[in-house]
């Protein structure tokens, strides 16, 4: 069954912390609270990866979280879009020379949208989700 366009546009987001400093976490939560309120567009955080269209990954992927990241990634149904939030997930950032990193994120799972910043502002995160939406539509257009 093909979902209707309005159903399609309501993005559900799953957030995965791969060893972040909490800075990006609080900005993600700040982004879903009333000042920014993306829920009016149907964008919301969900608790299970099986319900999600988009995966937000924060943190530089520490050793212990690599397998969990792969498992959670495989649990999200296709088509899916992965967003990497924060500089440390993109390049390692200030943690670039740590002995405990498996990252950056795109060496573990494929990343579609990068949101740089340490941490990025809530506006930047929402802009990232909008970019992810465009990519998701393109992916679905290709598979239909």
């Amino acid at each position: 069954m093909k979902p209707t366009p309005s159903f399609n546009r309501s993005l559900w987001v799953y957030h995965f912390n791969s060893g972040s400093c909490n800075g990006c976490e609080i900005e993600i939560v700040a982004a879903i609270t009333p000042r920014y309120d993306p829920e009016r567009f149907g964008i919301k955080l969900v608790g299970s990866p099986r319900h999600a269209d988009v995966m937000l990954v924060t943190g530089p992927v520490v050793k212990k979280m690599k397998d969990r990241l792969l498992r959670v990634y495989s649990q999200i149904p296709d088509p899916k879009v992965v967003m990497c939030i924060g500089t440390c997930g993109i390049s390692g950032g200030v943690f670039y020379d740590s002995y405990n990193l498996e990252g950056p994120v795109d060496e573990v799972i494929p990343v579609d949208v990068y949101v740089p910043g340490c941490p990025p502002r809530p506006e930047a995160i929402i802009h990232g989700v909008v970019t992810a939406l465009a990519k998701l539509e393109r992916l679905e257009g290709g598979s239909a």
Binding site: G23, T33, R35, L101
Partner: protein
């Protein structure tokens, strides 16, 4: 028919779970709905920050300490800077001390409001989560105005601060403070006089004063159990010596101390009001003058490079005492650096709190100590891919050996 083992059964939660904001692994031993025993394994956010710090110079490290924890970054930076300042004998200008105090208190305000929202969310009271987070945005605006960033401020530098507070900013701060003081009564009313919150939080997650002392809990978790500790009162640093700061205990509000989740809400909300008072006092008493002892970074690094000695920096973070030990041996990078974050002291109190409670109370009890695991995860022992677990005696022996080694 073989009789399977029915009780107790094991419920694993984590490391990634919707109820947890950060990765941590819990193993609950359940007897029906009741928690019989609990074990937890932190360490999923270990990034080896101290190891990296021992390869960088103090000016670089202050930006690393900001990123130990995104919520209480100033506390870590301040504790580290204070340790380095003691070793290098840099005298911090008085104005810088006041600016540090102001930003530390703003951090406390936003951290406690953040916590209050998370606690409401864990109880299933999402409208209150959204209200507190909307209110919190105002302090984030002020922090952004003062430091240039919403999180990871990078304001504190060894020897002082990097930005001054100019007279035009006083008005913005004052507006924010009076808004909070007006709102605090409403927040207290919503959190403390709500029937649902009282039913879910009263006598839930009890931590007795004896246990709190025995387990060395710190900060609001200890104060909610009636332990009168607050570094700002006991060992004043920065501008706190000039101000009158008294530890907030739940009996000041409710007339009694029970050491439950409700008392932890009381302490944190009252501290928001206290922080507003401290900031206001700092603004009116802030002396004029320099904001840093050494504005030229090259000179500052040269001073640090020559320094020898060890020191401890202690700061009352929003979650309790944050402790940094630094040893410098005349090199660019510190020879040793140890961080003991406040949550590290508080995590063990989970065990007496959770024992005997129901499974549905896990999220609020776990959240009630305001755990910050990115602060806590400092030690990882991996040896040739086999994991070894150190007992307390082993760790103690290692610690003694290290002290001896450093003394040589």
């Amino acid at each position: 028919m073989s009789e399977g083992k029915k009780s107790p059964y094991i419920v694993p939660i984590g490391p990634t779970h919707p109820a947890l904001k950060e990765p941590v692994m819990f193993t609950f031993e359940m007897d029906g709905e009741m928690i019989r025993d609990v074990d937890f394994a932190p360490g999923q956010t270990h990034r080896g920050i101290e190891w990296m710090g021992m390869r960088r110079n103090p000016v670089q490290i202050v930006h690393l300490t900001d990123r130990i924890c995104g919520i209480c970054g100033v506390s870590h930076t301040l504790a580290f800077s204070r340790a380095v300042e003691q070793i290098t004998e840099i005298e911090v200008p008085e104005r810088a001390d006041y600016i540090r105090t102001i930003i530390a208190e703003f951090e406390r305000i936003q951290s406690h409001l953040l916590w209050a929202g998370v606690a409401a969310h864990e109880l299933g009271f999402d409208s209150l989560l959204h209200l507190t987070w909307r209110v919190r945005e105002q302090s984030m605006d002020v922090i952004e105005n003062l430091t240039g960033n919403r999180v990871n401020y990078g304001l504190v530098q060894v020897g002082g601060v990097r930005r001054d507070i100019v007279p035009e900013q006083h008005r913005i701060i004052e507006d924010c403070l009076s808004a909070y003081e007006g709102l605090l009564g409403k927040l207290l009313d919503l959190f403390l006089h709500d029937k649902t919150i009282a039913m879910r939080c009263r006598d839930v997650g009890l931590l007795s004063k004896e246990d709190a002392l025995k387990l060395c809990t710190v900060g609001p978790t200890a104060r909610a159990s009636g332990v009168n500790v607050d570094l700002r009162q006991d060992y004043p640093y920065c501008a706190y010596g000039d101000l009158d700061v008294r530890a907030i205990l739940p009996d000041q509000y409710a007339g009694e101390t029970r050491g439950d989740v409700y008392d932890r809400i009381v302490v944190r909300l009252l501290e928001v009001g206290q922080s507003c008072g401290i900031i206001r006092q700092c603004l009116s008493e802030m002396p004029a003058g320099e904001i840093t002892a050494e504005p030229k970074l090259a000179k500052l690094l040269a001073i640090c490079k020559k320094a020898r000695g060890e020191a401890i920096g202690r700061v009352e973070a929003p979650r309790g005492e944050c402790f940094h030990y630094v040893l410098m041996e005349g090199k660019e990078a510190p020879a040793s650096w140890k961080v003991k974050a406040s949550s590290y002291s508080n995590l063990m109190s989970w065990i007496p709190m959770l024992r005997g409670e129901q499974i549905a109370d896990i999220p609020i009890i776990v959240a009630s100590i305001d755990p910050c695991l990115s602060c806590t995860d400092r030690v990882a022992v991996v040896r040739a891919a086999s994991r070894s677990i150190y007992s307390k005696d082993d760790l103690h022996r290692l610690s003694v050996e290290k002290t001896r080694r450093l003394q040589q």
